[in-house]
Symmetry: C2
Subunit: 227 residues, 2 copies
DNA sequence: TCTGCCCGGATCGTATATGATTTGATACAT
DNA sequence: ATGTATCAAATCATATACGATCCGGGCAGA
């Protein structure tokens, strides 16, 4: 028995492998926005043929992580200010709703865990560790919306985060002042949930929390004098 | 000069062609939920190779219109009651927001057109023409959210509609009582927009309008005695 | 010098061919 | 009669090959 062309390294197809590989390269910044993705090149690097790579890239396109033009090629999606606004707006919407749908089914342990994560985030601010802060922020919100019973919504939330994290280096910069607000809003959100607040209240709190970050970004855009 | 393998019928690639072809077949009911999509078979029917068809199917999968399993094959997505609820829930969310974002930029002509469409819908009820009613319903809502400045949201709304329309025959049945309510709610929504109501008000009105249809469905599910 | 044309390289798009996997049927042993 | 092993057909997954298309650079003419 020999390793044959159609074999799968894992339970995954080569197309899925390529998909994840490229995606992680985008996430970790190896392929930054605008980077040109050349089928043959990636295929050689992964030691597969161009067909699975092509499929991977088309899927990434459907996710909005890369742009693709017929007979031209693919490149990592640019995230300009407008794109950022649209993505954040959409994410605020779906994340807010997902959080509201999750809220009723969260148990005390989970909420406690969320509070601990938020406390860690506060520590990160003291030590000025924006990288950990960003990671913990994702953990915090994941904790709150992962229980959402609607898989479509969850998928949309994940896509939104994926887009942002993939392109965080270009625009999504850490704004210290906003970060402090963020931690406070997290506490307020947890209080709302723990007190069994109305679904709409929770939704709007979660939504506005994210829109707040967007506003902070826009404010900085329009007054970029402050470092 | 001869028609060669890589040629495109239009400006579209064969993969895109196959994508649209399969999608329309799903929409018009030729391929109903559960129908098995066999690559080779479709490829022969379209007179293309299996590669573009495969790509088309993977894209449809990303859209949620078909399910796909490695080494097994693809089939038109089943839309059971749970799926229907999730899809409607998500659609209510994004459509509501898209409508709210559109509202401020709608001009008088557009609103007038929406009112005319709604009047036609009322006529359909008198003549008992559920097919036209459903078509006009899409037209009505399209009129209201097409001006939405956020392309991501618009895309999500279109995907939701696509899912529903593709699978309408199986579950999405016309409930006369609800249809009358629907027309009335359309009028109320237009009034809100015309009076320059708060964005949140418009959003919730649009959202609840759709959730009302969902509720009507659920009520019928739990009490299916009445035909 | 500038402009337009043509050509070659790079890359995408698809057909074809073949390996890999699943599924269902059949034959056999218990 | 039932359960299990084996095999063949169907189908997916991928490699390879080649045509189609785009882009940039060189060359001829004004």
């Amino acid at each position: 028995m020999t390793v044959s062309p159609g074999a799968a390294t894992d339970g995954l197809s080569k197309a899925q492998l390529a998909h994840q590989w490229i995606r992680s390269r985008i996430s970790d910044g190896t392929y930054s926005p605008g980077y040109r993705l050349v089928l043959g090149q990636i295929a050689r690097e992964l030691d597969v043929s161009a067909v699975p790579v092509r499929e991977a890239i088309r899927l990434l396109e459907a996710e909005g992580l890369v742009t693709f033009e017929r007979n031209i090629g693919a490149q990592v999606a640019m995230l300009d200010a407008t794109e950022y606004v649209h993505t954040m707006q959409t994410l605020s919407l779906v994340e807010g709703y997902a959080t509201a749908l999750s809220a009723p089914v969260l148990d005390a342990d989970t909420l406690e865990r969320a509070r601990r994560i938020n406390a860690e985030m506060a520590d990160c601010l003291d030590h000025f560790d924006p990288v950990s802060f960003t990671r913990l922020n994702l953990e915090f919100h994941s904790t709150l919306f992962e229980a959402c019973p609607n898989p479509h919504l969850l998928d949309l939330v994940h896509r939104g985060w994926s887009r942002l994290s993939a392109l965080r280096d270009s625009i999504f910069s850490f704004v210290p002042g906003r970060a402090h607000e963020s931690v406070a809003e997290h506490t307020a959100l947890l209080d709302l949930i723990e007190n069994g607040a109305d679904a709409l209240q929770v939704e709007l709190a979660a939504r506005n929390h994210r829109l707040g970050t967007l506003d902070a970004f826009l404010a900085r855009q329009h007054a970029p004098s402050a470092p």
